[in-house]
Symmetry: C2
Subunit: 563 residues, 2 copies
């Protein structure tokens, strides 16, 4: 434990980083304070690879006692997608004790003001960053991501998204000054004069409902946006992905306490198997904000039923890539192959439907038929995943049996252009590792529509034959409007087609990547620059991160007096 | 008609005003570009008093043809609270024609960008401002406000609130740059480089549901916030207060057309008696934003049922003033008397419950018993309204029979400390003009609670005897939490009481005015400086105006390409 830092010391330590983050969200140029390379850790108090692994091993098989009030049981049963049991148990809450305890520290946290809250959040993020190697293992063994992806997406990229939320929250709160002198002329009479105080006040307790695949990346924006705006935060992890968020809560509680605040401002709510505690929590009157990532059905339920709360959801969508023409055929295929393979397509941003004109496309290698394009893509995936070590490093493990079942069923939906195959993992024999399947469908056939117009989460893509670029644009429009989309991609050298696709995305509010052929992929977004989702189509009602994501997590109370 | 202004000319004309508005919302110091004095009008193209009256007289008895598509009928039947029939008819929409027509101009309006949209909105507001004298009569003869109040609240103050919304909308849209170059270092390899375009896109058609008492003041924030963020706006006025918003729509359509945009971006939906068109409109899929001012029951219905839309509501609340002690007894009484009398208490911000310790209060004139304070207030109201001309100028007319019925019933709720009396209006013999009633209640008696814990909209106040300052603070807390409050006032010279009341307001998110004894009243808020409502208690889910009021009316779509 470090010596208790004063607020002043925390401001001195973290204000420069906050200022850089504020500048980054304004310019949206590249920036990150969190190194992506594993070797960057190990100095200045951060854990190196060995120490991180040791920390992860040390927590396995233990009771993770967070010192929370109102713990009536210890629950847990996470089994890694790589086959090992984590054996960690976590506090199960008696809500009637825990929720009131979480309100006890709210006044001091509110009165601390936006800057102190921001730097305390940055201190939490710094401590998380220092333990990135430990988090990498925790994320790997709950999400099934391969180690390097778990390290980067679960570590620095998640921390970036958390910091981004803190920056937006801070900026939003200081748009209104703390005080104002208001003097209104009254002609020859004395002016009217008031002194006004403006205080950002929290809504109450915020609930973060975590997901299985990206517990930190999808959890941090809501957690830090709510905490930075003065709310207490209760974290309800996915039962299969508790550890990364439990470690997060532990660090947050320590940092809050050391900064002189009530650690119960952040708490964990682990649940018993099948308990469905999220539903109970979501309608408690104390819960005034909910951040959720997961299925459309529960997201819709939250939006309809948690009426006492501000509800921010990221649900499911059907992501489309239009392949109309390209001047970099090989680059296009290798870029798409990577997007389909990364984390076995278990990203909310992975393309599902590849819309390709049935008469083929123009490329820098001459015209290619529909079948040639699909076969080319299949070969590109095969080439990318031909080496088992590289395949394991890219694919990770199938996160749960539902994904495996969908993958197996997909082969029956149409003509298989690329079959999925099993990959053995050298270290984890029980890991379920699979390459993606690509299935050909005819977009003109009504019976194909049931397949490509539903989200098939996992390593399943449909190569859909369409009549024309215009047909593709209209199918894109209908897909976004009816099913939502986290991402859209398009390959075209025709400015009119580009214009048409762009117009669909502007009208239906979907984020578009055009002609990616290098080292940036449609399924990746960078904090401080890219928006994740738009909040304007059915896939999500919020975007990471913008003003709307933070502005309603607090209210401003004005107290005015005659001057 | 002026010559068609170019976008460039509009920017040159209005950008300085926009910049001043942006500065005002940042500092929250006093500012307004809209003169409050009737004599300030009549030059530079604005209508003077006679011309404004003539314009109002000219529109009476006419069909107000706005040139809207899909008009299937002409409806209207407004009768002024002052007794005259307006005789104006308005277009009744065939929604299946009008709503599609409103979408036709959306692309050009979106592509115009935030600055052009802002200056077109400012041009609309400038034209409205030039006709402030005409609007004053239209507001007077629909709301029942006395002329001077209709002039100021319905004119410059409403225009200020509209401009404030434009400023917030502009600021929110330009937080993200139009383009960004993103370059991520890759060690020894070439950096990753993307060019990103960011476009604010509208949600669709916004619906403004107007109210009877403040058609322009409560209508303009939503109208201009939605229009400035790229949405088309359909205005559904209260059937008793159509004219002010119909004139607004006419001016908006003219200004849009002259600036080269589709006039159907703003349209009016008048309704037949009892048609309830708001309910039909509110759940149409084209309607993506709703701004509503009115009853709690319909506001709650909108929030629960208009799930396809962002819903911003200002509903009912129970406003409290705590009278604990004062060092300016006379000033306190005269300030309160004015607040209770202005527009016959028909403001959502008028105090209803005056909580006074049953053992009396300390004042600069010595201790005063509960009865003395109430009697003093009654005398102050009597004095303020003793002269019929002044009474008429302050009270205005009772807006509708429901208010009159509540006023008459209030005398039966407890001991009447001040009886309401009729005032004759010299110009309008049919006007229903009434002074406020003050009824004493004992806060400790359960049967009194039914009265003071319900909103009794109109010139009815309850002097509620409480046990102590602490008792008052707790009743205040319960009232805000259960019933909501647009305003809270308190009079105290005790710093501990002040602290306690302030803490209740911070915790329950209510706007507090302390010890007002001069020319500022608890029921008045000034645009650019005061927040109207907090959005954090049951009286309203939004505040005028803040980032949250505008941030979700548009989304940002990103298009990224390799650089």
């Amino acid at each position: 434990m470090a010596a208790q830092p004063t607020e002043h010391a925390l401001i001195a330590k973290h204000r420069p980083t906050l200022d850089q983050a504020l500048e980054a969200i304004r310019t949206r140029a590249y920036w990150s304070p969190h190194p992506e390379h594993p070797k960057a850790y190990g100095e200045h108090g951060s854990l190196d690879a060995a120490a991180g692994k040791a920390a992860f091993d040390a927590v396995r098989g233990t009771r993770l006692d967070l010192g929370q009030p109102g713990t009536d049981d210890w629950v847990g049963g996470e089994v890694s997608p790589y086959g090992i049991e984590l054996g960690v148990t976590y506090p199960h809450p008696d809500l009637d004790t825990l929720l009131p305890a979480m309100r006890a520290g709210r006044r001091a946290w509110r009165d601390a003001g936006p800057e102190t809250r921001a730097v305390v959040c940055l201190e939490i993020l710094k401590r998380i960053s220092d333990r990135t190697h430990e988090f990498a293992h925790a994320v790997m063994h709950t999400s099934g991501q391969a180690f390097m992806m778990a390290f980067q997406a679960g570590g620095p990229h998640a921390q970036d998204r958390g910091l981004e939320a803190v920056a937006y929250a801070y900026a939003e709160q200081v748009r209104t000054p703390g005080t104002a002198e208001w003097t209104k002329p009254q002609g020859k009479r004395d002016p009217l004069a008031l002194t006004k105080q403006f205080t950002p006040v929290p809504r109450g307790i915020a609930l973060v409902i975590g997901c299985n695949t990206f517990p930190t990346w999808n959890g941090y924006p809501g957690l830090f946006a709510s905490l930075a705006t003065g709310n207490a935060v209760l974290v309800k992890p996915h039962p299969r992905a508790v550890l990364p968020l439990a470690l997060t809560v532990r660090i947050a509680r320590e940092a809050l306490a050391e900064a002189g605040f009530d650690p119960n401002l952040v708490a964990l709510a682990a649940e018993r198997p099948g308990e469905g505690i999220a539903k109970t929590l979501a309608t408690r009157p104390e819960i005034r904000i909910i951040d959720y990532t997961g299925s459309t059905s529960f997201g819709d339920w939250l939006e309809a039923n948690a009426r006492q709360a501000q509800v921010y959801t990221e649900k499911a969508g059907v992501n489309t890539v239009i392949v109309e023409s390209t001047d970099a055929y090989k680059g296009m295929l290798s870029n798409l192959a990577f997007s389909l393979s990364l984390y076995s397509g278990q990203m909310c941003t992975t393309p599902q439907n590849l819309l390709i004109p049935r008469d083929g496309i123009r490329t820098d290698e001459g015209p290619k038929t529909f079948d040639e394009v699909v076969a080319g893509l299949a070969r590109a995936v095969d080439g990318l995943l031909g080496d088992d070590a590289r395949a394991n490093a890219l694919l990770g493990a199938i996160v749960n049996p539902d994904v495996k079942a969908r993958l197996e069923a997909a082969a029956g939906l149409g003509e298989v252009a690329l079959a999925s195959r099993e990959i053995a993992h050298p270290d984890f024999p029980d890991a379920v590792v699979r390459t993606p399947v690509i299935v050909k469908l005819d977009g003109a056939k009504p019976d194909a529509e049931a397949a490509y117009m539903s989200e098939c989460f996992g390593p399943v893509s449909f190569a859909v034959a369409v009549d024309s670029a215009a047909d593709a644009a209209e199918l894109l429009r209908r897909t976004i409007r009816e099913k939502g989309a986290m991402t859209v991609g398009a390959y075209t050298t025709d400015s009119q087609v580009e214009e048409a696709v762009q117009e669909v995305c502007l009208e239906e509010a979907a984020q578009l990547s055009l002609n990616l052929t290098g080292g940036v992929y449609v399924n990746q977004t960078a904090a401080f620059s890219d928006f994740h989702g738009s909040g304007g189509n059915p896939a999500a009602n919020a975007a990471l991160c913008d003003g709307a994501f933070v502005a309603n997590r607090f209210r401003v109370v004005e107290v005015r007096r005659e001057a």
